[in-house]
């Protein structure tokens, strides 16, 4: 075998969104030789599409807010399935992470007294989201990117990792390819941090970019790590539905946070009819109270338009099913009749621009048509809360590809704070592990060669399968059979289709050269897409209840017994998927008391 380009680092971070950048910055600051490897150009990661804001209980708008309230909101929003230690760390550390961004140059919108402005969002008791109009993700990624550049961190752009390698049971490096040239590259690393985001591209209608193919989930799984909570998929209630080419593009929850309401074809604010018992005590029952709440959160309860995302998404599906949907199969999101045009343009500039340019809709004059879109993967690599360590030594994970933090449903705004808090912690975890490691792990030539052989496989394959068609078929199967409302038989049908698609993917043929060949890249991404799809479907089949981002039409109730278990996935020696029920981390009494303090 010819020598391939090899680099040696203490810590290799895979993925350069919010979590990856934050992890790399921290690892590098602690003195670890750090590389940041990303599939796209630096600064293009999916974090850039986050709109609404970063949840952090700074108490700038409501002094009553604090980490305890944020913790409670997060746990309840996750239907009590989240890891309480992660939720605690997250709520406690988020404010400092936001302040840190400011000291690196971020310019958040301000309050009148010059502090960071905070906006209302679904499931959050108080105005809590630090934001910049509706482009907070861009602000965050640019700030982190510029800080990383300033710190001189080595960045490997448009470089995709295909496999992680191990020396014995611990991580020893990673192998991948340069997208640009198609040349292979190996990284010898003491520790690897996965920060690759989610799995949205397994679904037809999604708000995610092409990169979201479940790479981190799969890399960890193949390396022997555990995945948890894979059945929980967040369908964001408000994606664009029309025209077809933009279906799924996100419409920020900030529209509702800033006064927008959901209405059906009768012009009725239907969310008042979908308040579950779980949230009844904290939700407004009349339109008058809901409208007062925008200005006075202390004496009024939250509008049901801002119930957690799973609740709102299900309500929209029900309205459309009942024949009260909008012309193109969504519902109406109306801010035009509720806020002045100049306010809308100032608070939601990208939404205004997006609808104007892509759908010919002026949101200051007309209602938007919206419907659910696959948005976020709650499940991910099982990690140790304090360090982000996965179950394989030397492997760490942070951000969307890590599991546990959000339980069965993530609150809006908790993602960006998750990236910062656990990105930093994973960076510390990885750096300390790497710097404390005695002998560096060895990268076996044979292992590297087996990965490059695997990457070559699709090339010059004599199969006749088109990778684009395979992905499209997978998206249809996942969306219709393992989508927002699921049933046992349909999930089984999906598993059959996934098995079939795996066979077809092995025969995917690629034309052209290795240089910047998207067909080839997709053929390789199919391996991770199919792996996470199977993980999602298997977990969804097993959990016979409805909870958060997992709704079973054949098991509509939330079962308290299931509330004690996570579903954990790992790879058997024969390559098959092992599914186990593992007990939820028990909530210590002091934290449990915080959740009990209702009202």
């Amino acid at each position: 075998m010819a020598e391939i380009e090899t680099h040696e680092y203490d810590v290799v971070v895979i993925g350069a969104g919010g979590a990856g950048l934050r992890a790399a910055i921290e690892a590098s600051a602690l003195g670890a030789r750090t590389a940041l490897v990303c599939k796209s150009l630096l600064g293009k990661a999916h974090t850039v599409m986050a709109e609404g804001g970063i949840a952090a209980a700074m108490g700038n708008v409501y002094a009553e807010d604090n980490w305890q309230v944020h913790f409670r909101d997060t746990m309840r929003g996750g239907k009590m399935l989240g890891n309480c230690r992660m939720a605690q760390i997250h709520a406690q550390e988020a404010p400092a992470r936001v302040h840190e961004l400011e000291s690196w140059g971020a310019l958040f919108d301000r309050t009148d007294d010059g502090r960071i402005q905070q906006r209302a969002f679904g499931g959050h008791r108080y105005d809590r989201l630090a934001h910049v109009g509706d482009r907070t993700g861009l602000e965050m990624i640019r700030t982190l990117q510029q800080h990383a550049v300033q710190e001189g961190i080595d960045v490997y752009m448009e470089c995709t990792i295909s496999r992680l390698l191990k020396d014995g049971d611990r991580i020893s490096g990673a192998v991948g390819y340069w997208r640009e040239s198609g040349e292979y590259v190996a990284f010898k690393a003491k520790a690897v941090v996965l920060a690759t985001g989610g799995t949205g591209k397994a679904f037809r209608i999604n708000s995610n970019s092409w990169e979201y193919t479940g790479d981190g989930h799969s890399l960890a799984y193949w390396a022997g790590a555990e995945l948890i909570d894979m059945e929980f998929i967040q369908f964001h209630p408000t994606g664009m539905v029309w025209p077809p080419s933009v279906r799924g593009i996100l419409v920020t929850e900030g529209v509702r946070g800033d006064g927008g309401t959901l209405t059906n074809s009768d012009g009725k604010r239907f969310m008042f009819g979908y308040i579950s018992d779980y949230f009844r005590a904290e939700t407004a029952e009349t339109e008058e109270e809901a409208d007062r709440w925008y200005d006075d959160k202390l004496n009024n309860r939250r509008t049901p338009d801002l119930l957690p995302r799973d609740e709102v998404a299900r309500a929209i599906v029900a309205e459309v099913k009942a024949g009260r949907g909008s012309p193109h199969g969504g519902v109406f999101l109306d801010i035009a009749s509720r806020r002045p045009a100049d306010y809308i343009k100032r608070a939601l500039p990208s939404m205004y621009h997006q609808f104007k340019q892509l759908a010919d809709v002026d949101i200051t004059a007309a209602a938007m048509e919206v419907g659910p879109t696959m948005h976020y993967t709650m499940g991910g690599v099982r990690v140790e809360p304090d360090t982000g360590a996965a179950t394989v030594p030397g492997l760490f994970a942070a951000g969307e590809c890590a599991g546990g933090m959000h339980g069965a449903n993530r609150l809006g705004g908790n993602s960006l704070s998750d990236l910062l808090v656990f990105g930093r912690r994973a960076g510390i975890g990885a750096a300390e592990y790497a710097l404390g490691l005695g002998s560096p792990p060895a990268l076996a030539d044979a292992d590297v060669a087996s990965v490059t052989t695997e990457m070559d496989a699709n090339f010059g394959s004599d199969g006749d399968e088109n990778p684009y068609t395979i992905q499209s078929d997978l998206q249809d199967a996942m969306h219709t059979l393992v989508g927002i409302i699921r049933t046992g038989p349909e999930i089984e049908e999906a598993l059959g289709k996934i098995a079939d698609l795996k066979g077809r993917a092995a025969k995917a043929s690629v034309t052209g050269s290795k240089a910047y060949n998207p067909g080839w890249h997709l053929a390789m991404d199919l391996r991770s897409l199919l792996t996470v799809s199977e993980a999602i479907a298997r977990s969804a089949a097993e959990r016979t209840e409805s909870r958060g981002g997992h709704t079973r039409d054949d098991y509509q109730e939330t079962d308290p017994e299931w509330g004690k278990w996570n579903l954990s996935l790992s790879q058997n020696a024969d390559g098959s998927m092992k599914l186990e029920k593992t007990p939820l981390l028990e909530i210590p009494a002091d934290l449990a008391a915080l959740i009990e303090e209702a009202g």
């Binding site: 752009m157 448009e158 340069w178 640009e180 040349e183």
Partner: protein, 268 residues
């Protein structure tokens, strides 16, 4: 990214006036080029035409403002040339006019994504174009001219001559079409000056803190105003240019008896 040096030739590579644009990109630079030639050409000619009457009664064409004719009658050249360096310099170094003539005259570039002229390009980094940095000094002088033009405009409401072209007219305060034309001219030139980029920098743009003191907060308010005007700097530039030509034509036609100015003084 891999570090490979790549020199390539896609089909739209390099070349003067080469582009794949399919729209009428050439229309704007052509129209602006013709417009500038016509109006600036007229003003150039006008400035030399001190032999052709340029004032009558209370009206003096702005091309010869401030009026130096009395003291410089014996001067070899037109007296306008003693003062014209101010408006000419101001407009020549103006950020808007630079855009206009770089595109229309120097074809640098003729249009966006259209190949520009010239093998070498150094922009405003070398002589003579480095002199564009003097724009603010012309702006200071132009601000003086705003005052002078307003004085001229106000003076146009007060006639001191009792006999004009052999006709007895009233003296004292009054109003004529010419006064209105001159007021509009002063207004447009004032707005052109107040919407200037250098003026915007002067009033507040150079500051990095708007909230720091009462003075800086006041500067912020002025800066906001000037910024709003600045967005229409191009409009002010053209309006004031066209109007000064119109004003000059109008007053000369009146002064030479081709048309009669309607006014309260009962003459010219």
């Amino acid at each position: 990214m891999a570090q490979v040096d790549r020199a390539v030739s896609p089909p739209h590579r390099l070349g003067f006036l080469r582009t794949l644009r399919t729209d009428a990109w050439w229309f704007e630079p052509a129209a602006i080029g013709i417009g500038l030639s016509v109006f600036l050409g007229y003003l150039t000619v006008s400035a030399f035409l001190d032999g052709w009457a340029y004032e009558i009664g209370p009206y003096l064409t702005p091309v010869f403002e401030p009026k130096l004719a009395g003291s410089f009658d014996a001067w070899y050249f037109s007296p306008a040339l003693l003062i014209l360096w101010v408006p000419v310099g101001f407009r020549a170094t103006c950020y808007y006019y630079r855009r206009a003539y770089y595109r229309s005259y120097l074809l640098s570039p003729p249009g966006c994504a259209v190949g520009d002229a010239g093998k070498k390009y150094s922009g405003e980094s070398t002589f003579p174009l480095v002199m564009q940095n003097l724009h603010r000094f012309f702006m200071y002088a132009a601000l003086v001219f705003v005052v002078l033009l307003w004085i001229g405009a106000i003076r146009s409401f007060y006639n001191t001559e009792s006999i004009i072209d052999g006709v007895a007219v009233e003296t004292g305060w009054g109003i004529g079409l010419g006064s209105i034309v001159l007021v509009i001219n002063a207004t447009l030139l004032m707005m052109y000056s107040f919407s200037c980029h250098s003026f915007r920098h002067l009033v507040g743009g150079g500051s990095s803190c708007f909230s720091c003191s009462a003075v800086s907060r006041a500067r912020k308010r002025i800066w906001d105003r000037v910024s709003a005007w600045n967005e229409s700097h191009r409009t002010w530039a053209w309006a004031s240019l066209i109007w000064i030509v119109f004003t000059d034509v109008y007053i000369r036609l009146v002064a030479n008896g081709h048309i009669t100015d309607p006014n309260t003084w009962g003459g010219f």
